[in-house]
């Protein structure tokens, strides 16, 4: 699905006259693979290069060095540009700055319109998109009247309407309240589980990546750690050193384990911790 080889991205710094006077390396020699149907999470604190990486997957940025392949297409091939953007749909952080339509359904239709589909097909795609995120009943509303979570779901619907193979969510929950965050994550998981769409979730909230198949942790433009959630969450000290906030449950489990309790290396949920502690209690009596 996605293949990145030795990717390097430099941003040019310009002085007041527009002359280049330096570069910043946002991505430094990253290689990674995403198989079709996977739920991938990319974790990293601000400035770790994760959003830059996301823009490479949608051909909004092009490699300084190295290569990015999406569904067997090199992002530098100009004639494949639009096909890549269709197949790898992108949802951005700020819900207000990515909704173009004045009415929900018109916004969902924006992508299919750009693809040049005939009118009846556009309507079908819009219906599919709205159904996929359960926004059918809000289809005639103005986006300004929706909550943040609903706006992000509209953005997801707009991407679904283009029939992507993969959806890249670039910090989709960063500007939402807790209930909005849950809505958006539930929508992403549902698309992955039911429609088999590859999901790449970029975030700095560790709680959000628990359900992922595979996690990449980025730091200063490099992939610092990778593995399953359990493998990643077991390395509490390293995560904290990378500036990530480890979920409280995991932290508590980690501290108890350090005190000598027989807990697994990584505890992901409160239920799991309760169950394990219950078992230890039973055992000791």
């Amino acid at each position: 699905m996605i293949r990145i080889r030795d990717l390097i991205h430099d941003f040019l710094l310009r002085d007041d006259e527009g002359n280049v006077n330096g570069t910043v390396r946002a991505i430094d020699d990253v290689s990674l693979d995403v198989a079709p149907g996977q739920f991938i999470a990319i974790l990293g604190h601000n400035g770790s290069g994760k959003s830059t990486l996301a823009k490479h997957l949608n051909a909004l940025l092009f490699p300084t060095e190295g290569e990015v392949w999406v569904d067997g297409m090199d992002t530098r091939q100009e004639d494949k540009l639009w096909e890549i953007r269709r197949r790898a749909g992108m949802v951005f952080q700020n819900p207000d700055n990515q909704i173009i339509g004045q009415i929900v359904e018109e916004d969902v239709g924006f992508g299919p319109e750009n693809m040049g589909l005939p009118t009846e097909k556009i309507w079908k795609r819009v219906d599919e998109g709205l159904d996929a995120v359960d926004m059918q009943k809000h289809r005639l509303k103005s986006p300004n009247r929706l909550s943040g979570g609903q706006k992000q779901r509209v953005s997801i619907a707009g991407v679904i309407a283009m029939h992507p193979h993969c959806i890249i969510l670039d910090e989709p929950t960063a500007m939402l309240d807790p209930s909005g965050r849950r809505e958006v994550l539930a929508a992403a998981h549902r698309l992955h589980d039911e429609e088999g769409i590859t999901i790449i979730l970029i975030t700095h909230y560790m709680e959000e990546v628990i359900g992922a198949d595979h996690i990449f942790v980025m730091d200063r433009g490099k992939v610092a750690m990778q593995g399953t959630p359990r493998e990643i969450f077991a390395q509490v000290e390293q995560l904290q050193a990378l500036g990530l906030t480890v979920p409280q449950v995991t932290l508590l489990g980690h501290m108890l384990r350090e005190q000598g309790l027989e807990l697994p290396e990584a505890v992901l949920t409160a239920d799991e911790l309760a169950e394990k502690l219950g078992a230890i209690y039973e055992h000791s009596h």
């Binding site: 639009w82 749909g89 990515q98 009415i103």
Partner: protein, 275 residues
């Protein structure tokens, strides 16, 4: 404080006016403007006012919602009327220092006031009953002949629709920044106009920066969704005239004909109707 601007804000409800083809609404608004200048008599204005009232009744939009749009242009309206009142030569009615108000000026001022108000109400009605997307669709179609003269019609339409979408967002943002500055002691209510203008700087700078950031984000989001200009783009809601649109055109031209007729018989109208 910015809730008062209804221009460019769609009011969601269902009505005949909402369902009409946007092209006829654009044409009608334009012809209504023409009719206001054609109808140069009290009788003509009565007809125009009745026509407008009928349209407002048909629109299902609450009247106070429509009238709210007037507040923002009230000042402009008063200034225009004062200019007309004092700068038209004729029989002097009364004098304020060097300014002479004339009878002709008073009539002209009233006419101008009525014209402007009805014009604003009429165009507000158009934007209240038409989504900006459909409005720009209409503009795009109506201006299509200009493409031959290399006018970037699609791009203009797109720019308009984006501007319209972001007006409420930027308004909200202005409100937010204003409150933040007031909380830090900024004074936007100062009597001194120079001080007031100066106090706008800390409001406008962050607003512009944020507007540019939004523009950048939006451009990226549009490109990510395969937007590449008007070529090869299809429409989700292509414009198609239906029966009711033809009927609406008939009503519109009937009204216009009446206005033109009234102009010709102006001198023959009884009493004040002919003023």
């Amino acid at each position: 404080m910015f809730n008062s601007i209804t221009l460019g804000q769609y009011y969601q409800t269902d009505s005949v006016l909402h369902r009409l083809d946007p092209r006829i609404k654009v044409v009608a608004t334009f012809l209504y403007l023409v009719s206001l200048f054609v109808a140069n008599s009290v009788a003509g204005y009565l007809v125009s006012a009745l026509f407008l009232a009928a349209m407002i009744a048909l629109s299902n939009v609450p009247v106070r919602y429509i009238l709210r749009g007037m507040k923002t242009i009230a000042l402009l309206l008063v200034i225009t009327m004062l200019f007309n009142l004092f700068l038209t030569p004729g029989d002097v009615l009364f004098q304020l220092g060097p300014l002479k108000a004339s009878k002709e000026g008073l009539i002209l001022a009233c006419k101008m006031g009525v014209r402007l108000s009805m014009l604003i109400l009429g165009s507000s009605l158009m934007t209240l009953t038409t989504t900006p997307t459909r409005l720009t669709d209409a503009m795009e179609t109506l201006m299509r002949p200009l493409r031959r003269f290399r006018v970037p019609v699609h791009e203009i339409a797109m720019m308009m629709s984006i501007a319209l979408r972001f007006i409420p967002i930027l308004m909200e943002e202005t409100d937010k920044i204003m409150k933040a500055q007031i909380a830090r002691g900024a004074d936007f209510e100062d009597r001194n106009i120079m001080k007031r203008i100066r106090s706008m700087v800390p409001l406008l700078v962050p607003l512009f920066i944020s507007a540019f950031r939004r523009a950048n984000d939006l451009a990226l989001a549009m490109e990510a969704r395969c937007y590449r200009g008007g070529d090869g783009r299809t429409k989700m809601k292509p414009l198609k005239y239906e029966g009711r649109d033809h009927a609406a055109y008939a009503v519109l031209f009937g009204y216009l004909a009446l206005c033109i007729a009234l102009r010709f018989v102006k001198g023959m109208l009884p009493g004040f109707l002919g003023i």
